[in-house]
Amino acid sequence: MSWVRVAVSQSNEDIFDEDADEMYLLQKEWNSTMKKRLKEGYRDGIEAGKELALQTGFNQGYRHGAELMITCGQFKGTLNALLSWCRFNGHDSALSTINNLLDVVGKHEDDVLKYLNSTEEQPHLGHILDSVQDMDLNHTAGTEYKEVKDGKHEDSGSSGENICRNNGEVGSLQSECSKENLCTDPENSTLAWVKKQTVWLVEQLGLSLDVLHHVQQLEY
């Protein structure tokens, strides 16, 4: 227990030279122990946090993906119906047009899937030990404080843990938004183009107004 006694001895007391080495070793041992606890806590925390968030995230993502693809699917189904109708009724000239449109829709779907599958996100910054300052470690030197602070978090130099977190989140939101813009703008223009071509095709084939309206009503 002597190491504890030395460690908590107040800074008022003179530390004799002979004790200096011992003091250094004891404090190193203290730091090492606490560093271990910190790491263990971190690992436990990650596991717990992840488990909880996976299901919530899944549900959110599922809704997003389904809504993103439903209209694309409708274009696919509509074009396939027209394709089979044209085959039955001998409108062979239209077949290649429809197949081309199907290719465009198919490629667009692949692009959307790629976007949904991308995992770009901002790394989560945190200053784990800013709050260590609250703790009663007045006797430890500044360098030992930095030692306990793990290298697993980037030191952005900002003072508050919260500021860092907010920056990280805003950053990730921004990157997600810009990705989405990248995707939904082409999406709008791709499906808009397909819609236009399909409407033209329906008119060319002389199909009923109901069919025309069905295509015109496809929303993206």
Binding site: L38, G41, G49, Y62, E67, M69, G77, N117
Partner: protein, 139 residues
Amino acid sequence: MPRAAMADLFDGIVMAEQRFHGEGYQEGFAEGSHTGMAEGRRYGALHGARIGSEIGCYLGFALTWHYLLQKCTDEKNSKKIRALDSLIGMIQKFPYEDPTYDKLQEDLEKIRGKFKQVCSMLNIQSDFRIRTERSSLTF
């Protein structure tokens, strides 16, 4: 050293260890939540996209054929139209965007079965080859 003081020192160490563990835990929890959400969203989005695409395809197909056949009112066609309407009804009732729907798999299978039935009535192959290259979405 008096016993009470020793006990206090022990408590002090245990508390310090718990505090460090707790700090690490909080930080890790936040990090885990963040990555868990992102990962969950990614998997969810892919699954949802597949379902959305499939259901959308059935719906677009059925609606188009419904309108194509509407003018022809002979017996053979009215059978087809009834089947198409049944499929359309099933799809429109299906909450395609809700992953927590308790009958999700069951209803999905019913819709797939109905679609195959409709295709055979229309003399169409139900496994469309949408693209000539490998499709990322296979039902």
